[in-house]
Amino acid sequence: MNCERVEQLLSEHLEGFVSEREAGAMAAHLGRCPACRRRQEEFTTIRSSLRTLAQQLPLPESDIDRRAIDCWLAERAVSNAGWRR
């Protein structure tokens, strides 16, 4: 198993989609390849940073759903009134 394949598997491993056989081969490769161990650490850190970022997004609490509903109901009212005329 080469480094590129191991990197792909490291990514798939984050989704929990690596077979036992592949996980064994990947573990053996990681045991002897510092570059792939570093990549594994980087992938894990990135996941964790992204999840932390998601929790701290500067997103205001707004009523966009209500505004969209108001707008759509108003559009419908106009369209229905035109249709009845």
Partner: protein, 197 residues
């Protein structure tokens, strides 16, 4: 206003496998409460995904509101072939990609601002780290970025991402791998620059 039959449909729908179905039926006859219950659970997700693609909270809010409006207009044609959430996200991403290509790229992070930031563990340092990460995300191709954010921010399954993006699962895995690899390279450069500062 909605009739008794519609009200029953709402409560039946809510306990069923597709809770949106009853809410959609009621919403289509003008039940505002049903529409609010239909849309509200997706509000935060949509704004977050739009923010991830557009990089601006204000634009993200506008894009999410536009998503809801387009979804409401298209509601009569929603057949339930995909989950309601996937359908909404697909609309949102179409809006974001089209806005993104029509507008100037986001202003790059000013170096002077970074001088104001203190150590990595301080609130300023954390905020700076987040801004840099957003910038790194911004350097990914928009579709790849969206796939990664659907995975890491929204916890979407590979199948759901494929459904939203129109990709098979193999392509989803490949795009996620490429996105992570690009961010890993970015992180490596960040670390090297940090050591040289």
């Amino acid at each position: 206003m909605v009739g008794a039959g519609e009200q029953r449909a709402v409560s039946d729908g809510e306990s069923g496998p597709a809770p949106e179905r009853g809410l959609i039926r009621a919403g289509l006859v003008g039940d505002r409460g049903a529409l609010e219950r239909l849309l509200a659970p997706h509000k935060h997700s949509l704004v977050a995904v739009c923010y991830g693609v557009l990089g601006s909270a204000e634009d993200a809010e506008d894009a999410a509101q536009e998503t809801f409006l387009r979804a409401l207009r298209a509601l009569p044609s929603f057949r339930g072939d995909s989950a309601f959430r996937s359908w909404l996200i697909r609309i949102a991403l179409n809006i974001c990609f089209s806005w993104k290509s029509a507008r100037h790229p986001t202003e790059p992070w000013e170096e002077e601002q970074s001088a104001a930031a203190a150590g990595a563990g301080s609130p300023e340092g954390i905020a700076l780290g987040h801004l840099r990460l957003m910038e790194a995300l911004n350097s990914l191709p928009p579709h790849r970025r969206a796939a990664l954010l659907l995975k890491e921010w929204e916890g979407c399954s590979l199948g759901e991402i494929g459904d939203v993006m129109g990709w098979n699962v193999t392509r989803v895995k490949n795009e996620l791998y490429r996105a992570r690899r690009s961010l890993a390279e970015w992180q490596r450069r960040e670390t090297a620059e940090g050591e040289n500062r």
